[in-house]
Amino acid sequence: MHQDEDFSIENITKIEGHASLDLKVRSGKVESCEFRVTESHRFFEDMVNGRHFSQIPLIVSRICGLCSSSHLTTALEAVEDALEVEPSEQTKSLRRLSIFGEFLKSHSLHLYMLALPDYLAKESVLKFGEKEHHFIHDGLNLKKAGTDILTALGGRPHHTVNYRVGHVTKGPNSEKLVAILKGLESVREKALETVHLFDSFAAKHPFERKTNFVALKGKNYPLMEGQAIHCSDKTSVEKDGLMQHLQEVVVPYSTAKNAVFNGKDYVVGALARIALNKNQLHPEARKALKGCSTKLPNKSPFSTNLAQAIELVHCVESAIDLAKDLSPRNEPAPKIKPKACSGVGVTEAPRGLLYHSYTLDGKGFITESNMVIPTQQNIRSIELDLHDFVPTILSKPREKAALEMEKLIRAYDPCISCSVHFLKVNWT
């Protein structure tokens, strides 16, 4: 690459959704960097308006195929918060279990199918040779443990069908739970191996940049039911007040508005969660983390993959504990009286902090909604990282450099399909 170069990657591959990158390098410095989203809008915030609250979870789950359960759970929490419905312990446990399943699914797919080829210098999993072929099986097996949970609990691996406001229409039977447990136990080893694998890769990327981490804080490793959002700058906010601390800023070199937390750029996702809630990880996951040669948290965005691997261990172990304790009964649906109200739900989706808020009218129809999605919050950090990262790889040939940039973007596991719908972009 040259000291002066205009550079663009059309249609970045192996990420969820459509995005491209435009870079302008002048005298070895990045003059402008645009991580541009090319996905079409689907206007979810407008679409849920006028719909009955009972339909909301099923609609918003279609925001993203990869983290549909997170959207579903967040929306459910938001609507329940508004209507002051308290779901039963069993309902909460089932939701928590599906979220573990979803993390397993999402993380293992990203790590093995999308990120791993980068580290092994292969174009894609389809180009894996004899030696690497077992990785496909490993990834698929881990994913299967996750999707089996989702299928047993929610009917299918994506877009769960039976989670409703305040209850679950039908819980899994004991046979299904036994099958889940068996599946989870069979991938325990694989999860640990994944940590070793990605630990060995993490050391290879010395790039660092200081940033802030933001994640939900709660009793358990904060995947849901959290009340407060913490930031690594030691501040914290209640979930209802999140929107006062999240600002959208216009950055001159980008068409997309980015988000800042308390005026500072920040990162959400696996790395942020580990940074802020390391001590609440499952003991097994903590042990795995201790055994890593790379220390987490650190300032390298490439460590996100390792953090995800650690979370795989956490999810497998916690899901086993949770599933062992469950003995679901069928519970009646609660009687819900609609009223004019509003509520907020915040959870941790695989890619980071997820926020939904809804306002209902007296008959139970939605009048206003707002959603903040993880990747949207990370875009600013991706761009800032590239700013610092690109000058360090200018000596490399063009294709190599492009690949390095893609790797960095992929490390964030961006999920464009959901984020795009909420960027308030003016494309004119």
Binding site: N11, T13, K14, E16, G17, H18, T38, E39, S40, H41, R42, F43, D46, M47, N49, G50, R51, H52, Q55, L58, I59, R62, I63, C64, G65, L66, S68, L109, M113, L114, P117, E123, S124, V125, L126, I136, L140, K143, K144, T147, G154, G155, R156, P157, H158, H159, V161, N162, R164, T169, K170, K363, F365, S417, C418, K424, V425, N426, W427, T428
Partner: protein, 250 residues
Amino acid sequence: MPKKLKAGFYSLACCEGCEIVMFDLEENFLKALDFVEIVDARLFNGKHPGEKLDIAIVEGCVESEVDKKHLLEIRERCKYLVAFGACATIIGIPGIRNALPKEIQKKLKRKAIIPVKDKAFPISAFVKVDALLQGCPAFTHEILDVFVKLYHGIVPKLEEVPVCSECRERENPCLLFEGIPCLGPVTYAGCKALCPSERAQCIGCRGFTEDGNFEALRKKFQEMGIPKKEIYNLFTYFNPDPFTKKMEEK
């Protein structure tokens, strides 16, 4: 034996859930690779622009001119076009926006990249679709089935059977008797009555059958005491309003 099928996966405006379903094939995914060669798919980083394809599997709907152009280009390149998932086959959730009030539509139009008649369309509105993979998301067993069929030169056809039929095979009690409004009687089967088996109503993700008796079902919902607005909401979950008939096409 016939040659391997050259396949490409494409996604327009959607949640990409259907593409992820590919991985749910698990062992069958690897088996499918024995006779399906994935030459073009963003998730696998195969960039072979312009290559001729046997099958193009397209998920998502058309929301912008960019999508439309992309879609037309895909159609040019492939022998069989398979619509993948609810968005592509029947418009699905993105279609809810088509029924929004006029003023909001106008507002949205300004926000969209380059709108196509400020509406969302299933891909069949612009190109000939050879086979459908219904459902939101599409079903793994059907994906494999379509691959196998196309490999042997069979273009799969829809069987007009309602979800209730499979609901009976699974020996469920009917939800309509419990006051839960279910769209099973007017929705294409093939999901093995997934939702009713989980005691959740069918919301029509596999599309409305042509033969469905919508008027009778609406009456039934009314008798069950469901308010008018909610009934409308129900019928327009995934499908264009069956009473005012289809959205404009082509």
